[in-house]
Assembly symmetry: C2
Homo-oligomer: 415 residues x 2
C-alpha cells in the first residue's frame, strides 16, 4: 500500500521550495513542461492506448471512453494550457492590505500559496497537466488521485512533468500522483490532515459527495449545477427563448447548463408555444406542472424530484409561479448554489432576484453557461465552487492562494 | 431528541430575512438586545447560579467554575460587546470588484452573508451573546451548541435575545440554541449539510479535533497555538527578554501565548542568564536542549514531544539552532500555523523569516500576544483561524461573509 505520509512529507518539503520560487522561474518551468509534453506525446499516447484497451475490454461506456481518450489535439490543448498559465500574472506575493496600529505595529496581509493541494478526479487525463499547471503557478505542491481507468495515461503525464521540473532544477515533488487504486488509499488521502491543506474533488455528484462525507481535510465542493432560468412577467420573450435554448442545449453535460425553468404565469400563454417548438427541434423532453401542460402538449408531468435533479441531459423541468418572490423561493429550495438567471425588463425585479437568490452566480438577461473561469476572464479554472467557504463560483489562480499577516514592530508588548 | 432538520429549516428561513435587513434595522436590534440583557440580568444570573450549583455538586474544577460564572460585570461586558458590534461598519453589500467582459456582461463581486453559521463551544456563556452579535450583524442566522455545563445560562441568554428580536419585529430564529445534551445530537449537528454553511468550533484542542474529524459541514479550525519566538544572532537582547516575558507570562491560558523559544547559538551565553532570571521570577519551568542546559541551571531536558506541545501553562521549551533557516524549519515542523515571531536587527533575516514561516501571523520584533481581532483593529473577533481555507488569523465581521457574483447582460448567449 502507498505510503501516503511519505508522499505528504515530500509534498510539504516541496511546498517550501515552490512558495519561494520567482515568477520567472515558475514560468520557465511551465514552458519547459509544455515543450516536454509535446515532445513526448507518443509516449503519452501509447500509455493512453493501454488504458483505452483495458476500458474497451471491460465494456466501458462510449461516453467514458471518449473522456478517457487522448489524441494529438488533446495533448496540444494540454500544452497550450500550460503556456497560457505561464502567461498569466502571478498572484503570489501581492500585498492585499497594509495598516498601522496606534501602537506602531505595521500589519500587512500578503497573498501566499495554500501549501499542498490535493485533487481527486475522474477519467479525464488532461486534468493531470491542467491541475499541475495551476497549482505550480501559485507556488503549491499538488498530490493527484485520478481515476483508475486513466492510471497509465496519468502516470505517463506525471513522469513527463516530473522530468521537466528536474531539468529546471526544481523538485519534482511539486507533482505526485497516487498510483494505488485501492479505495482505502483514497479514503486515507482524504484524511491526510497536517500534510494536505485543501482537497478539491473534480467530477460527478457521487465523487463530490464521497469526498465531502469522508474528508477531514478542508474541501472545496465543486461543480454540481441545478441551474434555473426564471422568465419574469416583464421579459423580452425572444431573448428568453434564445437564452434558454443556449443554456439548455449548447452543451448538455456541463454544470452550468440550465436544468430547470421557472416561468411567470403571465407569460405562460405567449412564451410556451414558441419555446416548446424550439425545444422540440432539439429533442428536449419537457417535464412540467399542470399550468404548463394546459398550454402545450407532449409534456411529462413534473415531480418534486424533477425540480431537484441535475439531468445533464436533453430534459428540462418547468414550474409556473405568480411572482418574483415565489420564483426566488422555488429556486432557493431546489438549486445547488451554482448559477441562476432571470429574464426581465424590470430593474426592480432584477435587483430583487440578484439579492434574493442564494447562488455563486446570479444572472440578469444572460445565459448561465457563462459561469466559467475563462468566460469570467480569469484565464484559467480549477473548478466552480458551490460552497460558501473560501471561494464561490469560478476558481482561478487567486482562489488557489491564501494570505498571511506579517506584523512588524519595534519591541511592542501587550499590556 | 432535538429535530435538527427542523431547526435547520427555521435557520434557512431566517437567513433570507436577515440577509435583506438594512444596517440600521440590524443595529437597532443589537442595541435592543443589549438593553434587554441588562434589564434581565437577574434572570440570567439566576440561571447561571443553577449551572454553578450543579457544577459544584459534580466537583467541577475551580478554573472551569470560573469560566462558567457570570456576574454583573460579565453581563455588562456582553452588553457592551453588542453595543460595540452595532457601532462597527456593516460589511454586507460591499461591492468588492466590478468588471465588464468584451461581450458586454457586467460582473460584480458582492459581499453577502454566509447564511447559516453553526458554533460549537465550551463552558463560557458569554459566547452565546457574542457569537449572536457577530453573526447577526453580518446577516447570518446562527445555531449554537454550548457546553452542557452552561445549559441554563445559555438558554436564559438565548431567551432574552429572541424576545428582543421579536420586539423589533425580526424573526427570533436568527439565534437558536441546541438544548439537547446528547452527544449524538452534536454529531448530527456537524453533519447538517444543506442547512449549515459553516461550522466554527470554539474551545480546546479536543473539541476542535472532534469537530474536524466528524464534521461534513465545512469547518473553520480555530485557536490552537503552539507559538514560537526565535531570537536571532543579531537581536536586541533586552527587547528579546521583554517580548518573551510578555508573550509567555502576560496571560498563559491563551492561544497566542508563546510556548516555545528558539535561540541562535551565538546569543546563547548572553541571553540565557538574563532570560532565565526573569522567567524564574515568574516561576516558569524551562524545558531545554543540551546547549541551553550548558549555560543555565535548573532546566528539565526537552523531548520532541515538548516542542510540539501547547502548554497553556508556566512552561517554556527552548531549542538552540545555528541559522535562521534552521529556526524556520524547526518552527514549521512544530507550530500550529498560528503566530510565530523573530527578534532581530537584520532586515534580511526578518524578511527571510516572514517569507519562510508558515503561519497565520508572522512577527518581527513584537509579542505574539497581538494576534487578536481587537488588537488588529477589527473591532470584534469570532476566533482565530489556524487553517488556510477562507480566513487565516483573527476573524472579524468580514470573515463571516462570503461573496456572490452578479452578472448583468442584454441577452448574451455562449457560442
Amino acid at each position: 500500500m502507498t505510503d501516503l505520509k511519505q508522499m505528504g512529507e515530500r509534498a510539504v518539503a516541496a511546498k517550501y521550495v515552490l512558495g519561494a520560487l520567482s515568477t520567472d522561474k515558475k514560468n520557465r518551468a511551465l514552458l519547459t513542461a509544455a515543450d516536454a509534453l509535446k515532445m513526448r506525446s507518443r509516449e503519452i499516447l501509447a500509455a493512453n492506448e493501454k488504458d483505452l484497451e483495458e476500458g474497451r475490454a471491460a465494456g466501458m461506456h462510449p461516453g467514458l471512453l471518449d473522456r478517457l481518450a487522448l489524441d494529438e489535439g488533446r495533448i496540444k490543448a494540454m500544452v497550450e494550457g500550460l503556456r497560457q498559465i505561464a502567461a498569466l500574472p502571478d498572484p503570489v506575493g501581492e500585498v492585499l492590505e497594509t495598516f498601522t496600529r496606534p501602537n506602531g505595529l505595521v500589519i500587512s496581509k500578503r497573498r501566499v500559496p495554500m501549501g499542498v493541494i490535493g485533487i481527486i478526479y475522474e477519467s479525464r487525463p488532461n486534468v493531470t497537466a491542467d491541475a499541475f499547471g495551476l497549482c505550480f503557478k501559485t507556488g503549491n505542491a499538488v498530490i493527484l488521485k485520478g481515476g483508475r481507468d486513466a492510471l497509465s495515461s496519468n502516470a505517463a503525464i506525471e513522469a513527463v512533468l516530473r522530468d521537466a521540473l528536474e531539468d529546471c532544477g526544481i523538485t519534482p515533488d511539486a507533482i505526485q500522483l497516487i498510483k494505488d487504486t485501492d479505495r482505502a488509499v483514497t479514503t486515507a488521502f482524504m484524511r491526510l490532515n497536517g500534510y494536505v491543506d485543501v482537497l478539491i474533488p473534480r467530477g460527478g455528484a457521487g465523487l463530490i459527495r464521497a469526498v465531502v462525507e469522508n474528508s477531514t481535510v478542508p474541501v472545496i465542493e465543486t461543480g454540481t449545477g441545478n441551474c434555473h432560468i426564471f422568465v419574469d412577467e416583464d421579459a423580452d420573450l425572444t431573448m428568453a427563448v434564445n437564452v434558454i435554448m443556449n443554456a439548455k442545449t449548447q452543451r448538455i453535460g456541463v454544470c452550468n447548463a440550465c436544468e430547470s425553468l421557472v416561468i411567470h404565469d403571465k407569460v405562460r400563454e405567449k412564451l410556451l408555444p414558441m419555446l416548446a417548438a424550439a425545444l422540440r427541434e432539439k429533442n428536449v423532453e419537457i417535464r412540467a406542472d399542470e399550468r404548463v401542460r394546459e398550454v402545450i402538449d407532449g409534456c411529462v408531468p413534473a415531480t418534486t424530484k424533477d425540480y431537484g435533479t441535475e439531468y445533464l441531459d436533453y430534459i428540462l423541468s418547468v414550474k409556473t409561479v405568480d411572482s418574483v418572490d415565489e420564483a426566488i423561493a422555488h429556486i432557493n429550495r431546489y438549486n445547488t448554489g451554482h448559477s441562476d438567471a432571470i429574464i426581465t425588463n424590470s430593474a426592480e425585479h432584477a435587483e430583487q432576484f440578484l439579492n434574493g437568490v442564494d447562488a455563486a452566480c446570479v444572472y440578469v438577461n444572460a445565459s448561465t453557461r457563462f459561469t466559467d473561469g475563462f468566460e469570467f476572464g480569469f484565464g484559467a479554472e480549477i473548478g466552480i465552487s458551490t460552497q460558501k467557504l473560501h471561494a464561490r463560483g469560478p476558481m482561478g489562480l487567486k482562489e488557489l492562494t491564501t494570505y498571511k499577516y506579517t506584523v512588524c514592530g519595534t519591541g511592542q508588548v501587550r499590556s
